[in-house]
Symmetry: C2
Subunit: 347 residues, 2 copies
């Protein structure tokens, strides 16, 4: 396609110019500009036609031009703002942005994992230096829209396979699951349950695979019906915890998908008169500041959230300056932190 | 001053125009524009001269004009981002902003209660619809700079007297202190200590005054050396808690300045083998989501953080549209929520 249309474009780059694209589909140059700038005052049908033409011709705004005219902003997008987990990430991005004289625009998708078009329009018209997506992702169409505008993005803690190939920063979830479960097995636990995040979220699956690997390594089978998928909230941990702890042959240890979930498990245990760690060991995930303070303090897997956020911001700014990130996907190390909530398996 | 200079100004408003101000101090009109727009490419001495002239002549950018040319952004400024407390406020502002098609730019002053000039320059050049300051304040000079640019601001949970007169949203801290202490006195506690926030923060003082009022109302004197000033963190609560609980004649109840502080007190009690609520009652403040989940769950004073944030955002947008807020200062009601951490005074 691009060779076919090259004669209409910029001889130096082999790319079509805005005016060539406008001419090729019979619309005005200002209309193409408006669509490129996220303005909504273009008829929907025209807009769609222009968007398609931009993509067909692989139009991409000159990144260097964009860099100088971009607003001094980074977009930080959460699928949902909740708990102290989000705060750690916000702080990391905010610190990196401040060092670079950039403001951080925060969006909360209200639980949706993909932004809507209205958000896309707002972002495109703000012309930020780039976008960091937390536990959320862009559709292929949205990624193309950003590519066309030379607005880079980085995914923090990728949550699904649609973002494969996108620059990403995460932490080693499989290793986290492995080390948490190894710790419990080494304490003599043979009935270890796991409450993970949603099953369609990659990090949840990786942790559960680490849990399985620790069992295999020790020549053990996981206990039957031991794997629960839920959400990362306290309530998620409480509900699964209550169910696990009230069944016959209950687990002696529970590996939770987040510190908040672990708090929920602790509450379920208290309600059932089950002492932690005497009767039940609990491992959390994240190592939020409060993990050290709750009672009992949580044995948990440290995710370096501040550092992950900082790394994502630096990667993003590198791409905005025209550097191709190498590697495109970074995984920071997780580390088990042993505190009061785990102990030897009950006899 | 303004009558003296009126002949140079706009006859309709009696105000000086930019060109009149430029002429009055012998600088170019573009220089005045640059300073008004927060551009840094003006010599410091010239800049200072222009800033002074703008203020002397009470120059104010036409609010209606500003409204239409303002970027679709609200600035949200924290003196420090920490804990789940901040998240509740961010969510409230974010929701209100989204309803109005505005983005939220988040800043963290890194512990400082007043923004620096660099931040001011960035904000002025972003030209937001307005600014919400959380537990932070502007200097008189900074307020004048914003007034000149017609950028409105609202203070959320005012922390000092310098913001008197600024539009503000808070909650009834005095009442919160009163109801928490009344609850403890009604349970028979006569040795009630209070750990509040920093002594120079108004909300801390109001809560302590409520604590005193509850004692006076019951014809009681607060226990000696009962009032501690600290910071709102878990660590603050832990340190004061440990000190209070290891002294001779220790309190039977502690009213903490935040749920995080209360967590710290719970930890200090656990370490000392003091059972909550049997040997010690603890009341928190804020009613963060986790207050219901920790063990024991916290009796606490509910501050409607989401609603406070939403109210501040709506007030701000009203001012940006030219409405004078009435009242200028709103205090939302606080409410005691009784859970597991309080009980009858030990015999």
């Amino acid at each position: 396609m691009s060779t076919e249309t090259a004669p209409l474009g910029d001889a130096a780059t082999g790319r079509m110019t805005i005016s060539a694209i406008a001419a090729s589909i019979g619309v005005s140059v200002p209309s193409v500009s408006k669509v490129l700038n996220g303005r909504s005052d273009v008829a929907p049908a025209t807009r769609l036609k222009i968007e398609r033409a931009l993509q067909e011709h692989n139009y991409q705004r000159n990144a260097r031009q964009t860099g100088t005219s971009a607003a001094p902003l980074i977009e930080l997008v959460f699928h949902e703002l909740d708990s102290a987990w989000s705060i750690e990430i916000i702080r990391g991005v905010e610190q990196a942005a401040r060092r670079n004289g950039l403001g951080v625009v925060l969006s909360d998708l209200g639980g949706s994992h993909t932004p809507d078009q209205r958000w896309m329009d707002e972002v495109i018209s703000r012309r930020p230096h780039g976008i960091i997506l937390v536990l959320s992702m862009l559709s292929a169409e949205q990624r193309r829209q950003l590519d066309t505008r030379s607005i880079p993005y980085v995914v923090l803690d990728t949550n699904g396979e649609t973002t494969v190939g996108a620059p990403a920063v995460g932490s080693n979830n499989w290793n986290g699951g492995l080390s948490a479960t190894r710790h419990l097995i080494s304490l003599g636990h043979r009935r270890v349950a796991v409450i993970s995040g949603p099953g369609d979220v990659l990090c949840s699956r990786a942790r559960v695979d680490g849990y399985r690997a620790a069992h295999a390594e020790a020549g053990l089978e996981p206990m039957e019906d031991a794997i629960r998928w839920g959400n990362f909230t306290v309530d998620g941990g409480y509900r699964h915890g209550l169910e696990l702890l009230t069944r016959a042959n209950r687990p002696t240890a529970i590996f939770a998908g987040s510190d908040m979930q672990a708090l929920g498990v602790l509450r379920a245990a208290r309600e059932q008169g089950i002492d932690v760690p005497r009767d039940l060991s609990v491992v959390g995930y994240d190592d939020l500041p409060l993990a050290a303070w709750v009672g009992p303090s949580l044995t948990t897997v440290n995710q370096p959230l501040l550092e992950m956020a900082d790394t994502a911001a630096r990667m993003l700014l590198g791409i905005a300056r025209g550097t191709d990130p190498n590697p495109r996907s970074i995984e920071l190390a997780t580390q088990l932190v042993v505190r009061e909530s785990t102990g030897p398996a009950p006899a």
